[in-house]
């Protein structure tokens, strides 16, 4: 596929790796913010290729992983009671709530449905006017324009049976917490290419200056990832700290203006608890008062109480880069993709799932699929 295959070229990767090895004079610690990037690094074995040059710390950029337990429990409650047909992205269904997952509720009630797009949920509501449809809106800046569009469409169609359960999160406030954490020991960031495609990266300039860290806007394919790492270590070796864009085919400094206008119209920042990080100041988005009609939290009563995380799951330490997934005693033993204790083992972007899928398989077969 155009714009994918050329960025997976093994020869280009080899050249970039050689250039990275020539550049570094000491090991550097770099956090890739987005879970999609984590999967890319592990899938292609780039973490092993970079060993000794760059230690990768996996960031919290997995929306499913950071969605608070009480939001999942409320979605479960809506479907369990039959108040609404609860729709969301597939990953969200398997995340364990405090008592059950949406997948389990689907099996026993049928009140849960996977959709590819929030706009499909709007269409579902249009076609079934007798039934309430809730879209469980999780995701970072990349996803917020799509759910804001859903609200605009529901408004224009005059739908009274569509609403959003909003659990959107914002990347930069979480990066602020991690950059200020001396235990994390991060030297530089690979910023999430698709978040920056929507939100731009002007806002990182001040961040980079204050924390004296390079921030490199980075894509998701192997060539993109290594190109981001190279830019980051080049800056670190020169003692520089600035924002650079290595995903210029999609991300621009000011972001996507129609998307930002739409999101600002529908949402406003709010403090939000992140699983693993606690309450992140301005770390979430909520519907503005003028769009409250489409807010599931005002439309339906909530009975479920706030609950604490299962004590044996160390996802908080994984999400803040303090431990790598295999350092958790439960990893691969009591916690597997089939029977997850926490969200990072469920999500296609979760660090635990990436290690389980790629690193464990690599060890078992004794092979490295990336060198083919």
């Amino acid at each position: 596929m155009k714009y994918l295959d050329e960025y997976r070229d093994p020869e280009c990767c080899r050249r970039l790796l050689a250039q990275i090895r020539r550049t570094v004079s000491r090991p550097w610690t770099v956090m890739e913010v987005c879970g999609g990037q984590t999967h890319g690094f592990l899938r292609y074995g780039l973490d092993q290729e970079l060993a000794g040059c760059v230690e990768l710390i996996h960031g919290p950029g997995c929306p499913v992983c950071v969605t608070p337990l009480e939001s999942i429990d409320f979605a479960v409650e809506l479907a369990r009671r039959g108040d609404a047909l609860v729709t969301s992205f597939g990953d969200m269904l398997r995340v364990p709530g405090s008592r059950e997952s949406l997948m389990q509720v689907r099996a026993s009630t049928g009140n849960v449905q996977v959709v590819y797009s929030p706009l499909d949920a709007v269409d579902l509501a249009r076609r079934t006017p007798e039934r309430q449809v809730v879209f469980f809106a999780v995701g970072f800046e990349t996803t917020t324009p799509a759910t804001a569009l859903a609200v605009h469409q529901a408004h224009d169609l005059g739908l009274t049976n569509f609403s959003l359960l909003v659990s959107h999160v914002r990347v930069l406030p979480a990066m602020e917490l991690l950059a200020a954490d001396p235990q994390a020991g991060i030297h530089g960031f690979l910023a999430a290419g698709h978040v920056c495609t929507v939100a731009g990266f002007d806002s990182y300039v001040d961040f980079s200056r204050r924390h004296r860290m390079p921030v490199v806007v980075t894509g998701f394919e192997p060539v993109d990832l290594l190109s981001g790492v190279l830019e980051c270590v080049e800056q670190l070796e020169r003692g520089e700290a600035r924002v650079a864009n290595r995903y210029a085919r999609s991300a621009r400094a000011a972001g996507n203006q129609p998307a930002l206008g739409l999101v600002a119209d529908v949402y406003e920042p709010c403090d939000r608890p992140w699983r693993g990080l606690g309450v992140v100041p301005a770390g979430g988005l909520r519907l503005r008062a003028e769009w409250a009609t489409w807010d599931a939290e005002t439309r339906f009563p909530r009975q479920s109480q706030a609950v604490s995380e299962p004590p044996e799951c160390r996802s908080g330490e994984v999400l803040t880069g303090r431990i790598k997934p295999p350092q958790c005693e439960c990893f691969g033993v009591r916690c597997t993709p089939e029977s997850p204790l926490g969200a990072p083992m469920v999500s296609a972007e979760g660090a635990c799932s990436a290690y389980y899928r790629y690193a464990v398989a690599r060890r078992e077969t004794g092979s490295d699929s990336t060198r083919s």
Partner: protein, 89 residues
């Protein structure tokens, strides 16, 4: 979840947001995509699509320039390595 896939705009269906849409082809598979965020996209352009919504129009010149930079690395790499080989040989 932030996954976005490049696809080629085949034809516009509707121009007015929030329902703006186009047929977009992904490796031979055609799908209707919301285009409200990329009003500038033209037929033949590639867009990045996330959750049924096009979030950017791919800049073909920028896409090319990255690959050209890599070619420069290749040239830079050949020089010292060539020297080492001849010394060893």
């Amino acid at each position: 979840m932030c996954l976005a896939i490049p696809g080629c705009v085949v034809d516009w269906i509707e121009k007015e947001p929030p329902f703006a849409s186009a047929t977009v082809e992904f490796a031979g598979v055609r799908r209707q995509v919301n285009m409200a965020l990329v009003p500038e996209a033209r037929v033949g352009d590639y867009v990045l699509v996330h959750a049924g919504v096009a979030i950017s129009c791919i800049d073909a010149a920028e896409a090319q320039s990255v690959l050209e930079t890599l070619r420069e690395y290749a040239l830079a790499e050949e020089e010292p390595e060539g020297g080492a080989d001849s010394a060893a040989g």
